[in-house]
Symmetry: C2
Subunit: 369 residues, 2 copies
Amino acid sequence: MVEVPLFVQNRLRSTPFSEKVAGYKPVYTIYNRMMLPSSYGSLEENAHHLKTAVQVWDVSAQRQVEIIGTDAHKLVTMLTPRDLTKAEAGRCYYAPITNREGGIINDPVAVCLDENRFWLSLADSDLLLWVNGLATGLNLNVQIFEPDVSPLAIQGPRAEDVVARLFGEEIRAVKPFRFMRCAFHDRPQVVARSGWSKQGGFEIYLDDFSLGNALWDAVMEAGKDFDIRPGCPNLIERIESGLLSFGNDMYPEDTPLECGLDKFCSISEDGHDFIGKPALLRQQSEGFTKALRGVHIAGKPLAPLAHPWHCWLDDKPIGEVRSAVWSPDLSSNIGNAMLNAPAFTLGTSLRVATPEGDRQAEVCTLPFV
Amino acid sequence: MVEVPLFVQNRLRSTPFSEKVAGYKPVYTIYNRMMLPSSYGSLEENAHHLKTAVQVWDVSAQRQVEIIGTDAHKLVTMLTPRDLTKAEAGRCYYAPITNREGGIINDPVAVCLDENRFWLSLADSDLLLWVNGLATGLNLNVQIFEPDVSPLAIQGPRAEDVVARLFGEEIRAVKPFRFMRCAFHDRPQVVARSGWSKQGGFEIYLDDFSLGNALWDAVMEAGKDFDIRPGCPNLIERIESGLLSFGNDMYPEDTPLECGLDKFCSISEDGHDFIGKPALLRQQSEGFTKALRGVHIAGKPLAPLAHPWHCWLDDKPIGEVRSAVWSPDLSSNIGNAMLNAPAFTLGTSLRVATPEGDRQAEVCTLPFV
């Protein structure tokens, strides 16, 4: 794991939970110009703990774009190949956002608060500017802003137990990608069954910065019988689970089709209109020349990837590995690679240039588990 | 200076100069999702060196938004209260970009390459998404993208000597905020007399990532007689000089008028149209209730500000200091503060809550020198 020192300035925003988190001395990343803890000691120990117990994650850096007004639903449906024309209040939708070329510029979860009120819970880009630019250009009747809403995630097999202690047993009935409103300090909070792991859990969309310390303490208290610990999106677990990271695995030059996100998309002549539809219809009929795949990289454990690793097929450059880590549970180095044809064919054997020398790799489907 | 460890991932982009820079072990910041060195050892020694010699700065993180096409000039003039209707090729224009509410969403330098071809050399936000969103909404005939262009700045009183050695004596005739094209490895490069210090200097807009090492080495060789060293925007020098930092000093909730950027703006009923004009016309006639000011903070040297420091006037909260540092040359703690009326009146005496205790502060004009 490559670490360098970071100079903390005002521009790199603190979160409602920063004071609490700092005591655990995480290594950070910067995400939406905000501090995001990205490791607490050993990645391997944390992956194991996430899979067996419960963790609390400061994911405030998943900033929200709030869209409200008579044109809000219309605007949201234009933003994504996901068909949100029948979006229902109380549900959350993973929704890749595309530009005119069909490229992915963010992949938020769209939280439908009301027929004409949405939050887009962001990956790492200023989607606020895109949505605002569009609405300005189209002169739509909407207000678009970043509300004071900072998600705190509770993830892991015991997450439901912790959240039930906090907010009552009825939370257990909430289905995946649905939310209910739960009171905290007399304020209703959106609590969704969601989160950036496949270990189960909830996200509490705290809507008052000043309640951060109180919520953190309440979660830690509710979880103490379940061995709750601070955690964060875990590189090992998320690669194993096939959770793609915008900016790491997917760039604006890549389309949802190339990234294997077809199942979240409705791209058809008579389907809903959205930005990038002509480009994606064309790609759907003509096929694509690059695709995101899993790779198993041979040999002993590699340190997590810090910069893309080039790939060769028969000494021809053929793409790059964009995320990689050693998985103790799979006893393999695993990664996500954007590969040109024909290298993206499953079972292809590649050569990968890692900082620890060239390695053989085999192309596979995602997810790994 | 508050430092924490940063986990280096692919999402945090390297620059063409990262390999060279890494050898000098800087402390980094993240800017436009790219590595930006933000200190090399002592801030005070580096400020002194910048004022007396010459430095080379990896400011690749000032990413470009390229706007090209028959509607390019029309679009650029809409983006900013700066009147760019008569923009000339070969010139650079500091241009605050405003949203519908008149708030600042970036403050790039607009490089006019040709009548209908511009680069916006960015501060830290995804202006690419704003410009693209607008153009999509308005259905304009433009292409908008991030080119492979990474600025390397040469700053300090001996910068002209270094650049003249590199590119020839004619560069000395280039006036501030103008550029000429200079060959490097047989490629013409935009070389502008500009940069984020007030010590004089140039920015080389390198348009080929693969030439990064060669350019760095050439600059270091050309500067060795002038005591050239790696540097970066210096917190002390830039606050002394009144250079405002978007994200640190100015937020999207602040207007150019509140930030004292009037001299770059043309806001009048019969002037050019731009996004945010109605809001700014209103503010111009009604006046504003908050303003950015300098503050001299009493007492012994304070560590650089990491998070805003609240200000009080007669025990009433009245604003916040957003950047602050000890200036050895001025023998004072100096900072930039956003202050509500009446605290922004020059000479007002405030109380500032710093991590090192409450201090008295006096409101002053910018710049400090």
